[in-house]
Symmetry: C2
Subunit: 148 residues, 2 copies
């Protein structure tokens, strides 16, 4: 099954932080307690705790409580999904443009849209290729005070 947009959002944004990436690389060497994970960083424990929560939330890590120590382990599935999402573009960096063109010919826009987890475009504001201008939705008529 294709990963939902929300899953990709969480995964990529979890991976966007170098501390979290370092934590993952630590976990790649084996299970680890929170304290062990925190040790190498010049950062308070609550900060690490939050990072772990983000990783866990993204499904990149799971924890098992063993007494008072939380043992953390890598959970690679979301990375696999991210890798698959990115793999679509491999054709580009490998310069196999013909293969891509071929693929695109046999695949409807809809499928690609879905697969790239683009939120369903509810209303196209103009069917022409170049829309007129940024139409004001939900006009709020607030004061526009130029403070700076």
């Amino acid at each position: 099954m294709q990963p939902s947009p929300a899953v990709l959002n969480k995964t990529f944004s979890a991976l966007a932080d170098p501390t979290r990436r370092a934590i993952l690389s630590r976990l790649a060497q084996g299970e680890s307690s929170v304290g062990e994970l925190a040790a190498p960083f010049e950062m308070s424990w609550p900060a690490i705790s939050k990072h772990l929560r983000v990783l866990e939330d993204a499904g990149l890590m799971k924890r098992e409580r063993d007494g008072r120590v939380h043992r953390c382990r890598l959970e690679p599935t979301p990375m696999k999904d991210a890798a698959e999402w990115i793999a679509f573009y491999r054709r580009f960096w490998e310069g196999q443009l013909d293969a891509l063109a071929n693929f695109l010919e046999n695949t409807s826009d809809k499928e690609i849209q879905n697969w790239t987890s683009h939120k369903p475009s509810s209303k196209r504001r103009s069917s022409s290729s170049a829309p007129s201008r940024p139409r004001a939705k939900k006009s709020s008529a607030r004061g526009r005070k130029k403070k700076r």
Copy 2:
């Protein structure tokens, strides 16, 4: 060469937004003007403009000005880097744990740390495996007023 942490930060955080991913998938179908890219979205043009700036900043997109229209094209190198970073963990989701163990035995911690672009840990606060408690750096002695 290994991608720098900063590059991975930018790449992953650019990919963390569904609008930006959708823009990339559009660009995968060929070059496109800003207006064409903006059309499918229920979003103002400045918003899209900002997304494009983020993508450009991350090196995922380049633009060529052609008269008054900016023609955007996909630039896949950062995705390649991201894919390579993630590929390290492929061993996990493919369940080739033996291969990983083998790899780790022949690779120093330092190399892995570098490669995973973890900021150089300046001072370990304790050499034991479980440090004592989150030491207070830069104590600020501010009032701790419980407002909520």
